[in-house]
Amino acid sequence: MAPLASRKFKPLEFYSSPSIAYYLLPFRFHRLNDSREILVNEVGDYIVAPIDTARRIAAHDISPSESIYADLVANFFISEKPIPDLIDILATRYRTKKSFLDDFTSLHIFVITLRCDHTCHYCQVSRQSEDKHQYDMSRTDIDGFIDLMFKSPSRDVTVEFQGGEPLLVFDNIVYAVKRIEELNRADKRRVRFVVCTNLSNINLDILTFLKEHGILISTSYDGPEFIHNSNRTFSRGNSHATVLEKIGLCREILGNDMVSALMTASSLTLNYPVEIVDDYVAQGLPSIFLRQINPYGFAKKNRMKNAYTAEQFLEFYKTALQHIINLNLRGLFFLEEFATIILSKILTPFPIGFTDLQSPNGMINGAIVYNYDGFVYASDESRMLAEERDFTFQLGHVKSDSYQKIFYGAKAQHIAKYWANESLAGCSECGFQSYCGADPVRHYATQGDLAGYRPTSSFCITNMEIIRFLIELLTENRSIERVFRSWVNKTPL
């Protein structure tokens, strides 16, 4: 006797076509952990979904009856037509993400002297002692660089004075600021000035000038005294006490929002993530940038104090970030700058102006470096390679080379082949491509190759894990999501 056929009703899916007629739009994906993956479209919109969702989308196995189907259509992961009706909207959003390219070079860094009165073992500029005036930028070169700067098409320009210690040549800063302001009367660009200084030479006269001309201060502060002074030796006293005293003076005269502080993580620093954050909070600083060492200059030579792995830095970073998040959840508005940059890329449609996390990288097309000796470099880091007699990224000289040659010449074009992560091996299909960048200089310095080798790249290992960690926190905890959004919006909870 033949078995009876089942009389049970079949589920709706039984009657669906095994292959659903939708069309794929460009997207990338990455496994966040054992259970979830993130899908990211061409403009950085994301959906976090169970593992295997990307495969099912690519296999055309997502049914219109599933809740994720509408999300995929609405967020430009799939389309019900070969070309979606709103493709022009998507194109506009893509252009917006890349709009930092419209104005070309906007950050002009003047390395106005290589002299310095501090000896920081992680110093990436290989500074010179205070008495060596041959390491000051000449006024002729200052004039030449200002003329180059005014050839940039950017209507918004930031002039950043760096060193060494730029306040050792304060007269030249005054000269440069006044000349730029005079030339700008006809040009009418929006010009912002920044001085990157250790503050040891600041006084009321300097502060009066800075206030008159709306000049911002960026300084270095590495946290508790035993860490800061271990990292930064001041020839004329206690660096920690000096910088705190001077930060207070600057904030009193210039205003709190005109002074910012950055830290650099040495090997010693990695042992004290919580203490450093607590110290920043105790000093009344509104944020911290948990920054790892750049592998250039003195930093490379002092390996005992400065050499650590990406994994060691990540452990430090995550501990410090968790602590900062907890402080925010307890009512303090205090943000971590690197996380805020990445979160801004994830949560807003706009570019963020941080050259290392841009694609194309911001060298040349976003920032340029005018060195004390008249040479022009693609980035801050690339002039540090020149201190080691490596001129790979030296673009020209202010006296002998034209703007066209420096900014658009053969060297710039060669670097341009490697500055977009869309075209790099490993990056081209990475799920985090929209949130990350490319760094040809770092890869050249650490791996001997402008393109870089992603599996051993500290830049890649660090960025991928931080991005993954932030997305995991953002999407698994609503309270932390609110904290992160408050950072992006710069508005306390």
């Binding site: 069309y23 739009l25 460009p26 690519a58 493709i87 194109a91 252009r95 299909e429």
Partner: protein, 123 residues
């Protein structure tokens, strides 16, 4: 797909009509930090990948490694499918994004109309 544990390396054999040579290269590119990777075609239909560990792998870690290899191959196959199917629309998207005129813009579907008679196309 066959995965074979040898004493000094792991060997993976795949059907090339399932996982192309491009997919194999892109997938095992990421293994280069911890393995020396050898990729070759055994025949027109079969590809072979050999992973020689740079440091010894504990035996207890092998199931995780094999699971990761399977997952990664599926992931890179998926990426290959998406890349191929979306090549044209991606090129169109970028061309539209960086076009300096509106020659690549499409008119919205439907007819233009306005209840008070305003004609946006009138010169």
């Amino acid at each position: 797909m066959d995965i074979i544990n040898h004493t000094d390396h792991v060997e993976i054999k795949v059907q090339l009509d399932l996982y192309s040579i491009t997919v194999l290269h892109k997938c095992f590119y990421w293994y280069g930090a911890n393995f020396s990777v050898d990729i070759e075609t055994e025949s027109d239909k079969v590809g072979r990948v050999r992973l020689f560990p740079k440091t010894e792998i504990p035996v207890a870690e092998y199931p995780n490694l094999l699971s990761k290899i399977r997952n990664d191959l599926i992931d890179f196959k998926t990426r290959d499918i998406v890349s191929k199917e979306t090549q044209n629309v991606r090129d169109l998207l970028i061309a539209k994004a960086f076009s300096h005129s509106d020659e690549l813009d499409d008119s919205p579907p439907g007819d233009i109309s306005d209840p008070v008679g305003f004609d946006p196309t009138a010169k």
